[in-house]
């Protein structure tokens, strides 16, 4: 199967008065796994459905590969979609479900059977051909839904909240499975999710969306280490935010910022001298250090499995979060603790 790229040019969607998606450009490279990530109502599902052809665009154009598919029906776009509830036809057998797309293309009974059996084997469900979807578990149904989509050999696979219907344990397992499947088939995958951990585990790139706009597009590492806005910083991973004023630029792509909470801080990013800025601090950026230059009062300590998360209040009242590795001594709530912030650990936020 040959992977295709997907390009959106000025694509927007309005439902009556409400604009769900503002005019967007997006370039999804052939063969990559891109996730649209954001809270409910941000427009990510609408974009996916427009790519799939289930929703008409209000403006703009959609290209799959080099072809303008904007007006094409959903089955003539070289895309396949897998729905959140899998949408398996309850009155058809597993095999008939998988072969449905081929039947619509007019393939013979024999050819369809053969192809369906082949896929049943690939998803480790051979022998299940005659069963009804109601007889399968959630994970098995997802595999059937994937087979049904992939049997048509699309250039792009679209996934709407692929792991939303599963419980936490199964979800983690299947995150890895999906990533493996992506490498195996080598297609372009575009997924939609509100779960940031899922996005970071599975994707090559993430597009973080808010209120109908893509706020930032990049690899998981890029977005995590260099969030451009406070929204993105807070949506992916945890962070504390403090305010300050830029004193001077410093070599190595940093600026020196004077903050009320932590004193002088060297933050990564560029800004004009004298500008009022906001800085994001990841929990792993702050380090507990008795002899550290900054002091803050511990207000809470929470056990999160592989770390202890301390919540502290800085001198100016700002809230801070800090992750302590397992085994490190935990300061008592109400006591003062010393903190150290390595240079560059704070991130300058654009807005």
């Amino acid at each position: 199967m040959r992977a295709k790229s997907v390009t959106l040019r000025g694509v927007s969607k309005s439902f009556g008065e409400v604009q769900a998606v503002c005019p967007q450009d997006l370039e999804v490279r052939a063969g990559e796994f891109l996730t649209l990530l954001g809270p409910s109502g941000c427009g990510k599902t609408t974009i996916l459905r427009m790519i799939a052809g289930l929703e008409a665009v209000s403006s703009g154009a959609i290209f799959v590969g080099d072809e303008d598919v904007t007006g094409h029906p959903p089955n003539r776009r070289d895309t396949s979609i897998m729905f959140q509830d899998y949408a398996l036809f309850p009155h058809k057998s597993v095999r008939d479900n998988i072969a449905y797309g081929l039947k619509m293309r007019g393939q013979s009974e024999a050819a369809r059977s053969k192809a369906a059996e082949g896929w049943l084997e690939r998803i480790s469900l051979d022998g299940y051909g005659k069963r009804l979807p109601s007889a399968l578990s959630g994970g098995q149904r997802q595999r059937v839904a994937l087979a049904r989509a992939l049997i048509l050999e699309p250039g792009v696979l679209l996934l709407d909240e692929p792991l939303g219907a599963l419980d936490a344990g199964l979800r983690r397992h299947l995150q890895v499975e999906l990533r493996r499947l992506h490498r195996d088939v080598g297609l372009t995958f575009i997924a939609v999710t509100h779960d940031q951990e899922e996005a970071m585990t599975m994707s090559d790139r993430i597009a973080v969306m808010r209120d109908g706009r893509i706020e930032q597009l990049g690899t998981p590492a890029e977005i995590y280490d260099h969030p451009e806005t406070e929204f993105v910083a807070r949506f992916l991973g945890r962070c504390s935010v403090i305010e300050g004023r830029v004193v001077a630029g410093v070599a190595g792509g940093m600026v020196q910022v004077e903050t009320a909470a932590l004193g002088p801080v060297f933050a990564t990013g560029t800004a004009a001298q004298g500008a009022n800025v906001r800085l994001a601090l990841r929990p792993e950026a702050l380090i507990l250090d008795h002899s550290g230059p900054v002091r803050a009062r511990v207000t809470d300590a929470v056990f999160t499995g592989n770390a202890v998360r301390l919540t502290l209040t800085a001198a100016d009242g700002s809230g801070l979060e800090l992750d302590l590795p397992r085994g490190a001594p935990v300061p008592a709530t109400g006591t003062e603790a010393g903190l150290r912030l390595p240079p560059g650990a704070a991130i300058l936020l654009a807005s």
Partner: protein, 280 residues
Amino acid sequence: MARPPVSNLWQGILPALVLMAGFFLLPILYTLGLSLTSDGAPGLTLANYSAFAGEATLTDALMRSLTLALSVVVAATVLAWPLAWYLTFCVTHQRRVLLLFVLVAPFWTSFTIRAFSWQMVLADRGIVWATLRQLTGADVSLGFLYSLPASIFGLTLFGIMLITLMVYSSMVTIDRRLIEANAVLGGSGWTAFREVVLPLALPGWIIGAALTFIVAVGDYAVPSLLGGGLRPVLAQVMLSVLKGTYDLPMAATLASVLVIVIVLCVAPLLLLVRGTRLQS
């Protein structure tokens, strides 16, 4: 904006539209229109209506229909509210379905059969009076059958079923916590009814009463079988005009009178619905 990639398929309504427009809407409009015309004079005229108003037999029939319908609504309402209360508050969920079925099931069957069976039962030789005669030894037979009260009785049973069902449907959706709140504030069961249940279940009653009125004012079978032919209701007159004298314009006029009566009596009820909805 581009065309949606998947077609709208609104065309499914076409057969129904043709049917309803052609054989429901148009006939009724035509009938109303016909009542405004007369063989004698060209153009629109109210001659038929003045003829109607002048003819005592016709206006009497109309009054009987109105009396019948209003009495049925009142009588059915009196019984329906307690029954609906019973089903909502005194019976478990599982039994409710069963009891509702018990109440509603007979009305799936032929109206005619039911009316006729009452005719048999209430006749002089019927079981009701025969048993009473045996018990009291007196020659009791109030001539109940073939009178307006008998028609009212027959239709009230139907009205009870309908209004109970409608009131129950509204009553059962009332948030129980409102009633609990009433009790906490010191109210009694009667207060609960007056302040909480009545206003919220009223829309259901309005719909039930309106439908019952409409059925009763236009019913033919029950008044014919139980009411006798001496003092006919509007429906009976309409039938004899259509099948007997075959006077189409008069039939159209009678039909239009029926429509007008229904609109006049039901419209205020429906405005009440809007009023109560706004309130709650």
